[in-house]
């Protein structure tokens, strides 16, 4: 039985797709058969970040409409044979997604995959609602600024009330906080919310802090999930996050500037 993870935020541009790509690649590299689905119908991006945009034949909506089989639409990653991408349709809009259709696809994927990552679109409309509806775990991606934090809070409310688990009164979705674009220097100057500030507002389990990093943009533009860039701080942050999610005890880093020495030590060991 697969574990379904939704990567969500409410607000746009906080790093959902970057995170989806990195986490999916991280889990797949650990040997788990992983699928990553782009729910952003009409504004498809995941294929670019994953670097498979030139291999898209069929998409998510085709499968929902029965115009293609799941196997025809799934794109196997060239770098990791455990990773598959289900791209969104660029020519449709989010109304093409139906609860039944999405449910059917996730059920079918669950038979063979270990992890299914749902890359949610921004907003709280149909696409976002369907991305999180069937989830077991939620990665809430938040930037250290008030608008993003409030939108995340709103999303958390929806997660706890409008998901399948909530409607069936099952065990609640496990919610994790991923704080991205974090810059300790700017936090110190008071230009950014600190980890503690965000934790205070959201009171959520912190899965990891991803530092603001040039490597993210570089990786995105070249279609390589940033987690594959082992020398970058963001790549290492995502590796930590995957390990923590899988139950390993990994100390948090990238929170304080002066812990850079520690970073070096950890990396060396």
């Amino acid at each position: 039985m697969a574990r379904i993870i939704v990567v969500t935020s409410g607000k746009g541009g906080v790093g959902k797709t970057t995170t989806s790509a990195a986490i999916a690649m991280g889990l797949a590299k650990k040997g788990f058969k992983t699928a990553v689905i782009d729910f952003d119908v009409g504004l498809r991006n995941l294929d670019l970040i994953m670097g498979c945009e030139r291999r898209v034949v069929y998409d998510f909506v085709n499968v929902i409409n029965g115009e293609a089989t799941l196997n025809q639409a799934l794109i196997k990653d060239k770098r990791c044979n455990q990773l598959f991408i289900l791209p969104a349709s660029q020519t449709r809009d989010k109304d093409a997604l139906t609860k039944e259709g999405v449910g059917k696809i996730l059920k079918e994927l669950s038979k063979t995959f270990k992890y299914i990552i749902c890359d949610s679109p921004a907003g709280i409309e149909r696409g976002a609602n369907l991305a999180m509806y069937f989830a077991d775990d939620a990665f809430v991606v938040t930037n250290p600024e008030v608008a993003s934090v409030r939108d995340s809070d709103r999303m958390l409310g929806i997660l706890s009330s409008k998901s399948q688990r909530a409607e069936n009164n099952d065990e609640a979705i496990k919610e994790y906080l991923l704080l991205s674009r974090y810059n300790p220097k700017r936090v110190k100057l008071g230009e950014m919310l600190s980890v503690d500030d965000v934790q205070d507002i959201l009171s959520l389990h912190l899965l990891g802090v991803i530092p603001e990093s040039q490597s993210v943009l570089t990786a995105s533009n070249s279609g390589i999930p940033v987690i594959l860039d082992e020398n970058s701080d963001a790549g290492q942050a995502y590796t930590d996050i995957v390990n923590r999610y899988l139950g390993e005890e990994v100390p948090h880093r990238f929170i304080d500037e002066n812990k850079k020495g520690l970073l070096g030590r950890l990396f060396g060991s």
Binding site: R150, D153, R154, L156, G157, I158, S161, K162, I201
Partner: protein, 250 residues
């Protein structure tokens, strides 16, 4: 609370009018045959004589569907059974007239059909209503009593309870919690909290860290901007005193 007796002794009020609610037994009359009623009434009373002795009683004639009934005889029967009729309802014009002669008050009939009773069904504490609301702005209704919520109330969620509301978590900015009774928040209150929404001026709001966007009791409200810095980020009790909303540190 008490007014100065020296000032008011001249026109000290000798009484005051208040509306009150009491529960009285209602005798739903289903037959017009006084003999049958009398017989069955006695049987009933014999089962618990002390319980019925001198008990006041409201006579409800609605079930008779306007059939004729000798009201005077019925009242006699009841009095003979040592019970005290205090009024009738659901009566026909003629029966009302008879009641007047018998010095019995006529109450307005409860026009609820048996199917309609609006009693909030359960007396159980149902699962927190957090789950109900998020995107829709329909308020959720819980039952009278105390409702306990253990998860954070997130931005955009609305909670409405008939009785008291206790939240053992934070209330986020952009959330709205409403109670017909009092509100207790064991956590940071950042959203809007409205207590006594049906006009209960005795309701209060208690929270362990006040950062609310708005607090209101029985319609008397204060927005964040008007909350004194001295009581911000502090555990407080918010209550109403003579229409003035007071915020005191606990």
């Amino acid at each position: 609370m008490s007014s100065d007796p020296q000032k008011t002794s001249a026109n000290f009020p000798a009484f005051e009018f208040k509306s009150g609610v009491i529960t009285v037994p209602v005798l739903n009359v289903l037959s017009t045959d006084i003999n049958v009623i009398s017989h069955q009434l006695r049987e009933k009373i014999n089962q618990a004589p002390e319980f019925f002795k001198n008990s006041s009683l409201l006579i409800d004639l609605q079930a008779l569907d306007d059939q004729e009934l000798n009201l005077a005889a019925l009242v006699d029967t009841i009095r003979n059974a040592e019970m005290v009729p205090i009024g009738i309802r659901g009566a026909t014009a003629e029966q009302k007239h008879a009641a007047k002669d018998l010095m019995l008050p006529v109450m307005s009939a409860q026009r609820s059909t048996p199917a309609a009773p609006v009693e909030p069904a359960a007396k159980t504490i149902t699962a927190p209503v957090v789950n109900d609301e998020s995107a829709s702005d329909k308020a959720t209704t819980s039952i009278v009593g105390n409702t306990v919520i253990r998860q954070p109330v997130r931005s955009g969620q609305r909670i409405y309870v008939k009785g008291d509301l206790t939240i053992i978590a934070q209330v986020s900015a952009g959330a709205e919690i409403m109670a017909e009774g009092s509100i207790h928040v064991y956590g940071t209150l950042r959203g809007r909290a409205l207590a006594g929404v049906q006009g209960d001026e005795g309701a209060g709001i208690f929270c362990s860290d006040l950062q609310a966007e708005l607090v209101s009791i029985a319609g008397n409200y204060r927005i964040s901007e008007d909350i004194d810095d001295a009581v911000r980020h502090a555990p407080v009790h918010i209550y109403l005193d003579k229409q003035a909303l007071l915020i005191n540190k606990i």
